[in-house]
Symmetry: C2
Subunit: 276 residues, 2 copies
């Protein structure tokens, strides 16, 4: 059973959750709201002086949980696969500059080839990054994505597939990010979370909700409590498996992005205490 | 490996594939196009004299493959569960009247309760229908739906779950419908198809394609060849397992519905020969 949440000490918000805000707004407003965990999406780092971002994070007492996102390894086009590696290496530089200990991987898929082939290319891509991970001291989390993204965003669609890959690669630098949005429907999830933690591969935990009905493939995620996911049950599995990290709120929502973000942050805090 | 398709003797079209057409148009145009398999969606039977529909089907030499759809068993509201049973019993009457040997079940889900609870209610619902199935001589096919429908349309989202339920119910009247759209992403599909057939539970095979990107949760299915599903591979698994039935084209597509349906039927035939 999930522990009771009484404070915001383990709350982390993804910058993309409050998409209208740049990195300065995110840091200042999260901190003001008593939220000190942040996962930074790379879009907010574009054209920024990363040393200044790092100072800002330090000044406001923020803990950077992870950088989102690397990955997108597979392609039928070898040139694109090479570019993907370069992009991931750049993500390591960004992560190092802002002090992120973890990069989340949206692994990618190419509908022009089989899922098996894409998974081979994902494994090859991750293995190519291991020296950079070791030398930077930055971990990589394979994030299985919902099967509705198997055509174009991720050929890794279940916790089992993510565990299989992490175990095959077998490096202390490679683990798994669990996101309830992608995995809630899977009746093997509890067992696979246990398996993941038993191998020390449970690196991150993301929450939001599945709206009923869902109307957009990307930007109709719900705030915790809006939808049908039993988030406390899954958080219980995560905690029972020994996970001690942050609960990361990652919500892509055209609906919420259109509202006042400061008020939205208060809604997130309330939903975090009562519905997570 | 899938057999070569040289003719239309095993082609079946779902009436909803050509949604702009009523039942008369479907029967006459399919027959004229050399297509003699039809799966009838219940919407085209509304306010129709079913004996006349049966005569029409006979006159045009149509083979009715199945009636779509029964199911939608689960609800947090017991009154709705009772209504669902009544609706399914009405489907048996319609199936008997038009001569359908099979009813496809979209099993349902209620986001207000757990998927486990919804699956219990699905099993209860199907068991309630067994006497009607036996006395009418009409089979029921559990159709696992894509996990993106787990919130509201089906708590059965993998072939394994459908197999588990069919085996638990353990009746010659209850089997499984395989639809590539819902199941293509699952790396256990080949094994579960084999398992299904070994229990004589492989009742139906539906084809269409997964568009990349997909833009609508319901009505953006692709014509075979439009998307990323390796349909011949899956058809090969089905045939290797011993399936001898129709290949049913079930495409919900706002895009194709907006085009001339006679020309579309020719596209379907071409895609059936070359991309299925």
């Amino acid at each position: 059973m999930a522990s009771e949440i009484n404070d915001f000490s383990k709350l982390c918000v993804h910058t993309l959750t409050t998409k209208p805000w740049g990195i300065e707004d995110c840091v200042k407003n999260y901190s003001k709201a008593g939220i000190h965990g942040i996962t930074i999406w790379r879009n907010v780092l574009e054209n920024k002086n990363l040393a200044e971002v790092k100072s800002l994070l330090d000044d406001y007492g923020m803990t950077i949980v992870s950088l989102c996102r690397g990955g997108f390894f597979p392609s039928v086009d070898v040139a694109k696969r090479v570019l993907a590696i370069e992009d991931n290496l750049q993500a390591f530089e960004q992560a190092a500059a802002v002090g992120a200990p973890l990069i989340v991987l949206v692994c990618g898929a190419d509908g022009g080839q089989s899922l098996e082939k894409s998974r081979e290319q994902i494994a090859e891509g991750i293995v190519r990054l291991l020296p950079a991970a070791r030398s930077a001291g930055i971990k990589l989390a394979i994030e299985p994505l919902h099967p509705m993204y198997a055509g174009d965003r991720s050929a890794i669609n279940t916790m089992k597939q993510a565990n299989d890959m992490a175990e095959m690669i077998n490096s202390p630098w490679v683990g798994v990010a669990v996101d309830v949005y992608h995995l809630w429907w899977d009746d093997t999830l509890s067992a696979e979370i246990k398996r993941c933690a038993s191998k020390d591969h449970l690196f991150a935990f993301h929450v939001c909700d599945w709206n009923v009905p869902t109307t957009d493939f990307l930007n109709d995620r719900g705030l915790m409590g809006d939808g049908c996911i039993n988030i406390p049950e899954i958080r219980g599995w995560i905690e029972d498996a020994g996970f001690k990290g942050f609960n990361e709120v990652e919500i892509f929502s055209g609906k919420y992005w259109a509202t006042d973000q400061t008020a939205y942050l208060e809604k997130i805090k309330k939903a975090y205490i009562t519905k997570t």
